[in-house]
């Protein structure tokens, strides 16, 4: 059944052999590293631009507005213009700050999201980082981000940013627990942490959200809530609650340093949505319905990359929908939700998944 899906590793293999026939191995590797790095950076920036445009348009439609429509057809060049503007903006040097940490913080945030971004299975054979502790790795690197936020709040020497950073620290560390628990549920169910194997299993057996029925669905919902909180997006945008803390931890940043936070926020949303589709919705696995051979074959002909981005886009739309519908929570309500509801439910759910896996009561 899998044979119909186009395998992108054919392309990458071909480039690899092509390079190795002319250049020594180390040279070929070097060129490949540079190429992959460039490709990732480019993709990262392009996705961010597309997301910024998409969010502005979607938000506008939620709010009975039109959104950007002046720069280019349908306002398509708006985010490019914004990007150019932010690139040429001055980095304002603030007195009485911890210069080193202040300048380091945005890079930590962008670094963590870049590393997690590298683990995304974009399509069949289109994955940069894939090793046996993949999911664990994603968890580990994405928690570097909170360090950047805490440092930003602390080093700015501003009371607003400090409060924002403290909120952020409390929020992200708490919600990582729930994310971890729901990821663990998937890992237990699949028996592997390697991202490629997770996808392969879902290609052959069906998406986990279908095969793992109720417990997997609960894990999915918990993941979605905690993931939204993890990206500091509404209704969990307390660290940068603009009506309370003006802009929270990044109040003092300007120019491209602010741009990094902005970029990382959008990419983190993409990563959260991407992991959701990887863990629950089959990654790049096409939609298969048991017994419908013709339908399944047609689905297979849709390139895997479209499947992945399509699912991720749906997830991102849901996250945007949250943001543009709900008011903001208060810090104690936020922690209340996590520690009194999500964590206990997550634990019970994990137990259910373990039992389900042991007794094989799943599809």
């Amino acid at each position: 059944m899998q044979d119909n899906i186009f395998d992108f590793s054919i392309v990458t293999q071909w480039i690899d052999t092509f390079l190795r026939t002319y250049i020594p191995d180390w040279g070929a590797l070097l060129i490949e590293f540079v190429l992959i790095g460039l490709a990732l950076l480019l993709l990262y920036a392009l996705i961010a631009l597309a997301l910024i445009y998409g969010e502005r348009k979607i938000c506008a439609f939620f709010q009975c507005r039109l959104g950007p429509n002046r720069v280019g057809p349908l306002g398509l060049f708006q985010s490019i213009a914004d990007m150019l503007k932010i690139l040429i903006k001055e980095l304002i040097d603030i007195k009485h700050t911890d210069k080193f940490l202040f300048n380091l913080a945005p890079y930590l945030v962008i670094l963590s999201s870049m590393l997690a971004f590298g683990c995304m299975p974009f399509g069949k054979g289109l994955q940069v980082l894939d090793f046996n502790i993949g999911v664990f790795f994603i968890m580990a690197v994405s928690s570097i981000g909170v360090l950047g936020i805490l440092l930003a709040g602390w080093s700015s020497n501003n009371k607003y940013t400090l409060i924002g950073a403290m909120r952020s620290g409390a929020q992200m560390i708490s919600y990582e627990l729930s994310i971890g628990l729901s990821m663990l549920a998937v890992v237990v169910y699949a028996g592997t942490m390697q991202t490629s194997q997770l996808v392969d299993q879902q290609v052959t057996n069906g998406w986990f959200i279908f095969t793992g029925h109720i417990p997997m669905f609960i894990a999915f919902v918990i993941y979605l809530i905690a993931g939204t909180a993890e990206t500091n997006r509404g209704p969990f945008d307390l660290p940068e609650a603009e009506s309370e803390l003006t802009a929270g931890y990044h109040t003092e940043y300007s120019g491209i340093h602010f741009g990094f936070y902005y970029l990382a926020e959008y990419l983190n949303m993409f990563i959260v949505a991407g992991i959701a589709s990887l863990l629950f919705l089959g990654g790049w696995a096409p939609l298969h319905i048991g017994g419908w051979e013709a339908f399944n074959n047609i689905m297979d002909y849709i390139p895997s990359i479209i499947w992945f981005f399509g699912k991720t886009a749906v997830m991102m739309f849901i996250i945007m929908w949250f943001k543009w519908t709900f008011p903001r929570l208060r810090i104690d309500q936020l922690l209340h939700l996590e520690w009194k509801y999500l964590v206990p439910i997550g634990f019970v759910n994990l137990l259910l998944v373990v039992l389900m896996t042991i007794f094989k009561i799943h599809f």
């Binding site: 938000c59 939620f62 709010q63 009975c64 507005r65 009371k159 607003y160 409060i163 909120r167 509404g234 209704p235 945008d237 307390l238 609650a241 603009e242 009506s243 309370e244 803390l245 003006t246 543009w324 519908t325 709900f326 008011p327 903001r328 929570l329 208060r330 810090i331 104690d332 309500q333």
Partner: protein, 542 residues
């Protein structure tokens, strides 16, 4: 009325009675606190609400006029206290009897230099601490040299003074620190997205919990009351739209009514109807903006856009009839400036038709949302007693169950001809204040519905002379503005410009109570409570 006079003269034989709009008593300064306490506590009088406290410079004396109102009996009394000492004027504070006197007396100190014994916090409130002179005194030096534009920012010294009388009758000054030494203080404002204007809260925090708030007003104070003293009566009208720009019509209505009543001008019925309808449109406009900004402050930006969508329809009506969307300049002495636009009635009917659906949408999107409810219910509890004590009129007071609607208590214009409900909630929390406003939109629509087809034919204004001389006397008039009872105090000496014209703005009392309301809640609650009070800064900084 006889009863009031009898009680006061028995209690204080020195009190001098004079007739007026309300019974007026001139009281020796040192006897005032005792009399105030008696008037407040006496079961038959129950003057539990200080509706206005007006500082005044009568030439040889400086003094204060107190307008007292009883919530239960709805009777009024005016007290006057004065001091002849212009160098070092001292009166006695009534801030322990009526809490809103705290801010009002600070204003009097700021503008007249009268210091109040027993006041806990005798600082300037609007002007900078280093301001020379007291601007509303008649002998104030207005020259540029007296107060140069400062080039340096003012330091926060966080110290205040309080005056008291010791055992042997001497006045003692005590210096008080506003905050504790180790308090973590953040400045919320003057530039802050949630202060709805240029308002400055010095906030002492314990983690996320607020310990104390020190309000600094005056960033956009324009000295309108001082400017008024040099203007003719028709000129004074234009300033009212610049006070609370969301009650532009009602504010101007109050001033026009005050002057008309003093001049004994009969306003044509058509003008009365138009004024009433304009007031209600303004109220809808204001409450829609309230809904929008409250939702935005709570993080729901989409609700903001929904509120503005309908508000636009109201502004279109203003635009056609008045030629402006914000500063309408519509009421005038003796009527309104121009007749209504031919589309006026049709557009109001359109508004009445779409609003119920829109309100339902707001409730679905925001009012019934679990997060919004959790953020508002039980936040910023205001008891009925405190509402009266702090003179928190309008929807904020009605959220605590205080039936303080001037339209019902002392009807003006055509409010006695229409039927509508006074919306009352008894919870006293932010959600109650929010719901009062949402329900008031419905009531305003109901009023409009009754009036829209019944506007009588006739003149829209009486022709007035360009120079108006209001007969000598003291006049006070209240209307129900969008955020509470808006009072105009007018003292005339028969000239073509007012001797003293003061605005008693509802927002000032609301901000005066904010420390009381937010103590012990979180930063996020300050935003919620501030939004639910719905103060407008130009209304506070006149």
């Amino acid at each position: 009325m006889a009863n009031i006079q009898e009680k006061i003269t028995t209690f204080l034989p020195e009190a001098v009675f004079e007739e007026g709009q309300y019974p007026t008593f001139t009281v020796p300064a040192e006897k005032l606190p005792a009399l105030a306490r008696m008037l407040h506590d006496d079961a038959d009088l129950q003057f539990d609400n200080l509706a206005a406290l007006v500082g005044n410079d009568w030439g040889d004396t400086l003094g204060v006029v107190y307008y007292l109102n009883s919530v239960k009996y709805n009777h009024w009394v005016i007290l006057k206290a004065a001091t002849a000492d212009r160098e070092n004027p001292i009166l006695y504070s009534v801030s322990d009897v009526w809490a809103n006197a705290n801010f009002e007396e600070r204003e009097v100190y700021d503008f007249f230099g009268i210091r109040f014994i027993g006041h806990p916090d005798m600082r300037r409130i609007f002007l900078r601490g280093d301001w020379a002179g007291y601007p509303l005194r008649k002998d104030y030096d207005t020259s540029r040299e007296n107060n140069r534009v400062p080039t340096e920012s003012e330091e926060n010294n966080d110290k205040t003074i309080s005056l008291s009388v010791n055992a042997d009758g001497k006045i003692e000054t005590k210096i008080i620190d506003i905050f504790d030494k180790d308090d973590y203080i953040i400045n919320i404002g003057p530039q802050h997205p949630a202060t709805h204007g240029v308002m400055h809260f010095r906030t002492a925090l314990d983690g996320e919990i607020i310990k104390k708030i020190d309000v600094h007003c005056g960033y956009i104070h324009r000295g309108i009351e001082k400017l008024w003293e040099g203007m003719t009566y028709p000129q004074t009208l234009h300033m009212t739209d610049r006070l609370d720009y969301l009650s532009a019509c009602q504010n101007r209505h109050a001033l026009c009514m005050c002057i008309e009543e003093a001049m004994q001008v009969e306003v044509p019925q058509r003008a009365q109807y138009i004024r009433t309808m304009m007031d209600e449109l303004m109220r809808i406009n204001s409450h829609l903006l309230f809904f929008s900004t409250l939702a935005m402050d709570l993080g729901s930006v989409t609700a903001l856009c929904y509120g503005f969508r309908e508000r636009e329809k109201v502004l279109d009506i203003f635009d056609e009839t008045c030629g402006a969307r914000m500063s309408l300049n519509y009421n005038t002495i003796g009527g309104v400036m121009a007749d209504i636009h031919p589309n006026f009635q049709r557009r109001i009917k359109e508004l009445i038709a779409i609003m119920p659906g829109a309100l339902k949408e707001y409730h679905n999107l925001f009012s019934n949302n679990v997060i919004a409810r959790n953020r508002m219910i039980g936040m910023g509890n205001l008891s009925l007693d405190d509402a009266i004590r702090y003179n928190m009129t309008g929807p904020s007071g009605r959220g605590s169950g205080w039936a303080c609607d001037v339209r019902k208590r002392n009807p003006y214009a055509v409010y006695d001809k229409v039927e509508f409900d006074e919306v009352l909630y008894t919870e006293g929390d932010s959600y109650a204040r929010y719901m009062v406003r949402m329900k008031e939109i419905e009531q305003s629509l109901h009023i409009l519905e009754q009036l829209v087809d019944n506007i009588p034919e006739g003149d829209f204004a009486v022709k007035m002379k360009p120079i108006i001389k209001v007969p000598e006397g003291r006049y006070f008039k209240q209307v129900e503005a969008s955020r509470g009872a808006f009072g105009i105090y007018l003292e005339s000496r028969g000239e073509k410009n007012p001797y003293r014209l003061k605005v008693v703005s509802p927002g000032y009392s609301l901000v005066g109570a904010i420390d009381h309301l937010v103590k012990g809640s979180k930063i996020a609650d300050l935003i919620t409570i501030g939004a639910s009070l719905d103060y407008v800064v130009p209304d506070i900084d006149r």
